[in-house]
Symmetry: D2
Subunit: 256 residues, 4 copies
């Protein structure tokens, strides 16, 4: 029997409580819509949200998570630095991470990219078409050449990120912009996928293609390899013969 992949879907879960329109779209929260949408026999899906103790990301949860999904927007600043540190360390040790939509501005994504992650934006319900640049990549299996989202918020370039290891999707927007909407990174032993689609006021996490891609990405980001990073003092493997410092070569006095 194959081991199941342990997936934890983290959601800020605020808009769904405070905004009636969002509540109708996602009565149990976007995390539950995603979880329901990607449910499959090879996945163990759990949920965690901002307002739980430790944001739901206790050591026990993180230690048994293979892939973490992250959705945040209006409360990035409320995520505790110590939890971000823990998530970051787990990613470097081999936990997969999917950063969704407005998660581009989350503490964890900025920490991983080392950049500001700024972009252009506009919320006018326009059409988006995502072009599949890597049809042979595990993340895009069964997706086809492109797919459309009829109404969405716009994100436009320049997106301030490091050059992705692989650029998977580029978006065309009705209003005239483009965006690197699917980007693969590796940090430490962890695989990271940034995926742009998804917004609280549009039913994007009910879109079958979007859910299909998230499911593909979960399996791609999962790894059985997990290890700590240490800085070991190492004994020489070969015999050292140059222990006498030749300061003469550096043009300065001996005897230092």
């Amino acid at each position: 029997m194959t081991k199941k992949i342990n997936v934890t879907i983290w959601n800020e879960f605020r808009h769904e409580k405070s905004n009636e329109a969002v509540k109708k779209l996602y009565p149990d929260g976007m995390h539950k819509a995603i979880g329901k949408g990607i449910a499959a026999s090879d996945l163990n899906i759990r949920y965690a949200t901002l307002d739980e103790p430790e944001h739901g990301l206790t050591d026990e949860v993180l230690n048994t998570t293979d892939v973490l999904l992250w959705w945040g927007h209006c409360a990035h600043g409320e995520v505790k630095d110590e939890i971000v540190e823990k998530v970051h360390r787990k990613v470097l040790e081999g936990m997969g991470l999917l950063v969704l939509h407005s998660g581009h501005f989350s503490k964890i994504f900025k920490k991983i990219t080392g950049t500001n992650c700024s972009l252009k934006w506009r919320e006018e319900a326009e059409k988006e078409r995502l072009w599949n640049l890597e049809p042979s990549h595990p993340i895009t299996q069964d997706i086809g050449d492109y797919f459309e989202i009829p109404n969405t918020e716009m994100y436009g370039e320049r997106f301030d990120i490091p050059t992705p290891d692989k650029l998977i999707f580029v978006s065309w927007f009705e209003g005239g912009e483009v965006f690197r909407s699917g980007c693969v990174f590796e940090r430490g032993y962890g695989k990271i996928f940034y995926f742009r689609p998804g917004h609280e006021t549009y039913p994007i996490y009910h879109n079958e293609t979007v859910l299909k891609i998230i499911g593909n990405a979960v399996r791609w980001a999962h790894s059985d390899y997990k290890a700590e990073h240490i800085c070991p003092q190492s004994k020489p493997i070969e015999t050292l013969t140059s222990k006498d410092i030749d300061f003469g070569k550096a043009g300065i006095e001996q005897g230092v």
Copy 2:
């Protein structure tokens, strides 16, 4: 008349005060040895050290720095987070950054790489040979195929960094290890060069080839392009026609 490049050499400057051997090698500090070694008519060189107010990195200094060099080791933890934030923002806005030797474990380098930057190490005065993998790169001009450092601390792989944009040097160590000793990254509008050579107890910053490379890297990392990263709300360039949300497509009720 060409504009000079404003270089600020930052040094922790602790070993030179507390250790007699280091003091003899670098009586005025490693920063001054580097500054003297790369002095040239196109460079304006200043210095900044940990124990100065704001670590010598006031807004005035940072705002007029084109390229910052960073040497730290025993006191990484004493560098204030707010100063690291400022340096980071300046790099993203276009300031060049050279991270030297044990600076691999500095807060600023970890912040830029998003990784742990761990490695193997050993201090037994062994020989290092740095191979030039990119002889056509500006950083390696007039360096030749390889150069040697007769006595040095060893750093060994695996070095936990993101895949560099360009791998410039790979080191061979007498004791049997290898290391990615010259690595180029870009973050935001800033160019970053990690350069391994340099250690407080060896006269490496008196080595002409090492100094030549640092000088080359300063000129490479310098850019006249400087800009802030903002997240502007943008008006559509094209006329939007799809403002009516088609919730039917998503398989959920209208009227949301």
Copy 3:
């Protein structure tokens, strides 16, 4: 006095002779329009075309070319393999190469990328908007956030190329596609820039922004470093001690 950059603009130069509309747009050929458009005191500009002996690319010309521009379309197959070999070798040795528009399907670009360079296309005079993803790159200086070409042929993804070292421009097309329109590669010691704009039936090589970018790219692709690639048998630098083959370790008989 600074050395000038020797630029050779190569053009198939067939459409301009056979098609009246093209002839009106580019009476002296697209190569001359480009040459006139980028003319500057730091550039020595020459021309070469398919129907000249050796396609105008004699050893004398290639040996004194710093940056070569390539425009071809209907006659890729007529370019002699031996000339392509020479151009390729010069690129690997440090000559810059700018591949323009339909040059994506030229022998030299396929040889450099190692891929098929296929794409989608359509010629219906639609609007293109090129987004500048790398505003701090030398190629995009003084370009701004984006620029538009009012009427052009469409090229759409998936563009079958290796992941570029740097993605400079992404195009938005009126008809709904996107394209990686400015791509930087390095091969050997040569810098290569693929730049999509330009088509025989549109006045794109009279567009000031397009010409500005080509001029920027010429200066970026130029390098004073030029060297052959050789495979030298090298004497050991360190003393070898393991000359006796230990076949025992491999589990096979001694004495081989």
Copy 4:
């Protein structure tokens, strides 16, 4: 029941016939030693050699090969260009390719890299230690931090290849050189792994770690995604409104 991976091991198979020492090490050829060494229930292994009709790489064989291994050395020039073209096309369409040792100078590897693939070399039976830079990569599973080959030919930098998508192994040589010994590339839909170890006069293809890595790489390079690259003329997805060419903008006469 899972589909097996169809592996074809191609060998020049000349040294084994002409040289007694090589014959003793590899009586049935290096291809058979590799095939025996990686044999497993999920692999269908076949062989092909230079002196067979079509070098053993008929359409029937190539059309049913998921991963091709390539070993060549003294007879690169005898491989027919038309066969190289076919292999290349299959790689771009999704066939995996493992290029072994002196295959660095094969026509197929040069075609894929677009570079000269030159390097330094020396055959003095020295020790090599391969450092594992990517312990979480599928190719390095169960390998550990490093492994050694007691006697081997040396390959040294600069290795003239494009920057690999991922650098997996770096070699340390007793004689003082380093080398990028395990390099991952992607071209079209095909995954390529260059792996340095292996030489006709050393029993390297009897080394368990080398064989383990080759087996890992076969599984990594395999993909169920296979597709041709075509250049389709595409109908616009969006309605085009800018069909009237605005030649005025370009500063030239109307009526073209």
